[in-house]
Amino acid sequence: MTRDPNTMSRRQLIRHTAWFGAAVGFTVVGGEVISHVAGASVPRPAVGRPTLRFAQVSDSHLGFTGAPNPDVTGTFQHAIDQINNLGYTPDFVIHTGDLTHLATPDQFDHAKQMMSGLRTPHVFTVPGEHDSVDDAGQKYRNAFGAGSRGDGWYSFDTAGVHVIALVNTLNLHKLGHLGTEQLEFVQKDVAGLSSDTPIIVFSHIPLFAMYPDWGWGTDDAAQALGYLRRFASVTCLNGHVHQLFSKTEGNVTFYSGTTTAYPLPHPGEGPAPKPVTLPAGKLRDALGIREVSYTTGQNALALKERTLQ
C-alpha cells in the first residue's frame, strides 16, 4: 500500500506533536519563571502585608434619578458594604468626586451620613463638577473641606507615600482646570521631597487627555505633572469617566476608576457622555470599587478592581 503524499505519516505526526508539546511546556515553564522573578523582585515587608492599603470609590451621584440606575443610594451603600467586607481595614478610603448629583445641602448630608459608615480611620474626598454646580464648591467645602487649602486641595503623608488631592472641577470651560494658585501649591508641596518618594495624586477629572472632546482631560495638568517628573513613581487616580481606563506616560501611571451610579459610554461612542441604560441584571457589572496597595520598595501600586457583587 502506498501512502498519499498529501497526508502526514504517523512518524511525522508524532514528531510535530512532540514539538508542540515542547512549545507548550517551555511556555509554561517560562511563564512560571517570569512570574517567580516578578514576585521576587518585589521586596516583601516582614509582616507579610502591604505597607499601605486603601480603597477608591467614585461618582456616587446621590440624588440622581433615572432609568440607568433607579437606586443610586442602594448601589452606593452596596459599595460601602463591600469596602467594609474586604477582610482588612483599609488605611483610608478616597472618594474621587461627584458624591452628589446636584450639590444640594440634603445630598451632601446624605453622602456624609452614608460615608460615616465606612470602617476605616480616614475618609478623603475631592469634588466633582456635580458637587459644585452653582456655588464654585462652597457647599462641598462646608461639608468635606475641613483641613483643605485654597478651593479644597490638600496633601498628606502616609506610610512613606506622599498623597496629593487636587481640585480640577472649578473654573471649568471645557476641560478640567487646576489654576495658578493650585499649581503653585503642587510645586511647593513636593519641593522638599526626595525623588524616591512614591507620589499618589487624586483628582476628579483625568489629568491625562483621555477624551478632550468630551472634556475628559485637564488643560493645565502638564505643568503639575512637570513638577512630579523627577519622582520615580507617580500614580494618578481619578473618577469622572465612570469606567476603568489606564495609561502610562514616562514615570506617571493614570488610572480612571469606575462609578457606583451608572455607566457612561466609551470615549467617542455616541455624541455625548450620557448615562447608559444597561439590560436588566447587568448594571452591577459596570459599577465597582477599587483596592489599591503599596509595598515599600516597589515602584508601582497594585490595583484590584472589584465589581459590585
Partner: protein, 150 residues
C-alpha cells in the same frame, strides 16, 4: 541545513528573545498590575521565549509561522495602545523607553525574516515546479515551506 537557514534561525531566535526579555522586564516592573495587559505581557514573554529556544534548536517550519503571528500580534497591540487603546490601556510614543522601541524593533525583525524566507521559498518553488515530476511537486507543496518537514 544551509548556512542561510542557520542564520535565519539564529536571527529569529535572537529577535524573539529580545522581544520576550522586554515584555518580561516590563511585566516584572509594574505591568503585572494592569488589568488584562499584565497577563498579555506574561503570555507574550513566555511564548516568545519558548519559540526562540525551539527555533534555535531546529524546530519545524510551523514554529516560524507562530513566531510571526506572535510578533505581528504584538505590533498590532502596540499600535492599538498608541491609538484606539487596548482594553482601556493607552501609552504615548516610545514610552516606556527603551523597552518599547527595542521590542518593536525585534518584532519587526521577526516578521521581516519570516516574510523574507516565505517569499524566497515561493519564488524558488515557482522556478522549480515545472521541472519536477507531478508527485514530487505535490510532496513539496505539502512540505513545510519555512523549514524541514521533520
Amino acid at each position: 541545513m544551509t548556512f542561510r537557514n542557520f542564520i535565519v534561525r539564529v536571527g529569529l531566535a535572537a529577535s524573539l528573545a529580545v522581544s520576550a526579555a522586554s515584555h518580561a522586564y516590563l511585566y516584572a516592573h509594574g505591568y503585572q498590575h494592569i488589568s488584562r495587559i499584565g497577563i498579555g505581557f506574561l503570555l507574550q514573554a513566555s511564548v516568545s521565549f519558548a519559540l526562540a529556544v525551539l527555533i534555535l534548536v531546529g524546530g519545524p517550519g510551523w514554529l516560524r509561522w507562530v513566531a510571526a503571528a506572535v510578533a505581528g500580534g504584538s505590533l498590532v497591540a502596540f499600535v492599538m495602545s498608541r491609538t484606539s487603546g487596548l482594553f482601556g490601556f493607552t501609552e504615548r510614543g516610545w514610552d516606556p523607553s527603551p523597552y518599547a522601541a527595542s521590542s518593536v524593533a525585534a518584532e519587526v525583525v521577526t516578521v521581516v525574516l519570516w516574510a523574507g524566507v516565505l517569499i524566497r521559498w515561493r519564488t524558488s518553488r515557482r522556478g522549480n515546479a515545472p521541472r519536477l515530476l507531478p508527485q514530487a511537486a505535490r510532496a513539496q507543496v505539502h512540505g513545510a515551506p519555512l523549514g524541514r518537514d521533520r
